[in-house]
Point group: C2
Chain length 209, copies 2
């Protein structure tokens, strides 16, 4: 919250710039949706990117502008918003556990060979990733979840939302990847059942990734 010159509380203005895909902007978008915070969801066309790239720090997206101040790094942006939304965890230990889960999910997404040009090699690399790394990741997440409803503590955090974001993309790559981890599929369902998240998933632009 901020106060304008008349002393009235005003919400900060939020502009999130990324491409027309879920990608690295989708977690911030989920958190905006969850918290019911209005934001400008600016989606740059690929043809326009070369001419505006230099206007962004390090020439990278996403960037979140908060009252015009640019914040970089998707996870730093998401954590900033998760604090506003009350989604970071209920204690310092819980916050650290959520941070670690987010980083662990992110480490896996960084192993996906997005930029491999040869389609056969790309398929092979994705197969290997989902055969060798994914089961360890899923076992770890299922262990962390235990028989609770959410990954950290007794209520949802941004780690649960990030699980859903990642699940959605992993499922595009290898549809049955989580079939042997029913507890995690249950978590997916619980995130989807959050009304504001359900509404966002219904209304967002449809893109493959």
């Amino acid at each position: 919250m901020h106060f304008n010159s008349a002393g009235a509380m005003t919400m900060p203005s939020y502009k999130l710039t990324y491409f027309n895909m879920r990608g690295r902007a989708e977690l911030p978008r989920y958190i905006f949706a969850y918290a019911g915070i209005a934001f400008e969801d600016r989606r740059v066309e690929w043809k326009d990117w070369p001419s505006i790239k230099k206007t962004f720090p390090l020439g990278k997206l996403p960037v979140l502008e908060v009252n015009g101040l640019p914040l970089t790094q998707s996870l730093a942006i998401a954590r900033f918003l998760a604090k506003e939304a009350g989604l970071v965890g209920n204690s310092r230990l819980a916050e650290a556990q959520a941070d670690a889960l987010v980083d662990t999910l992110n480490d896996f997404t960084l192993l996906i060979p997005w930029r491999e040009d040869n389609p056969q090699i790309k398929t092979q690399k994705i197969d290997m990733l989902f055969q060798s790394h994914a089961p360890k990741l899923l076992d770890h997440l299922q262990w962390q979840l235990g028989d609770r409803e959410w990954l950290v503590g007794d209520s949802e955090t941004w780690a649960d939302l990030y699980w859903h974001v990642c699940f959605t993309t992993f499922r595009v790559l290898r549809p049955g990847f989580a079939d042997h981890h029913p507890a995690l599929c249950g978590l997916t369902d619980r995130v989807e059942a959050i009304p504001n998240i359900a509404k966002w998933i219904q209304s967002r632009p449809t893109t493959e990734f």
Copy 2:
């Protein structure tokens, strides 16, 4: 702080497990040193690692045990400690800026070809990294620093400590890498002049990385 059964405040017990190198444990160690918090600095010998690897979540280090509870992911561990040490930044925006700088420095360290076996190819790859990526990184950091003393706001944060950790390792790889960025070298000097950090650097085990 925690309370024991007699009601007296007790410090949590901290055990940080990693290898005998700076690597991904050095930022948590700097924060412990900065805050004057006692911790067990457990350094696993390579020969012992295969037999104990399975006892750590995802088989990875570092792990910080807080009263026996294991926390994973070096940056989540560091952020947890930075909160205890008052090093995360003085506002939510400052916290997000520090988080983003840490992630940006970390992104660069992830590009270093640590596991390249061929020494000639390794040299080539490191040369390319320091010729193509490093100047952009350093320009960005120098822009973020501006004419202030610290990277975020008016006082030191864990982003400044991480700069020093990274600087120390980058300098081993390419000694003159920051010569054209005197403001950043000034920042290095300021971090080294923090008495508790100076003491840690003096007393820590000497390792190449």
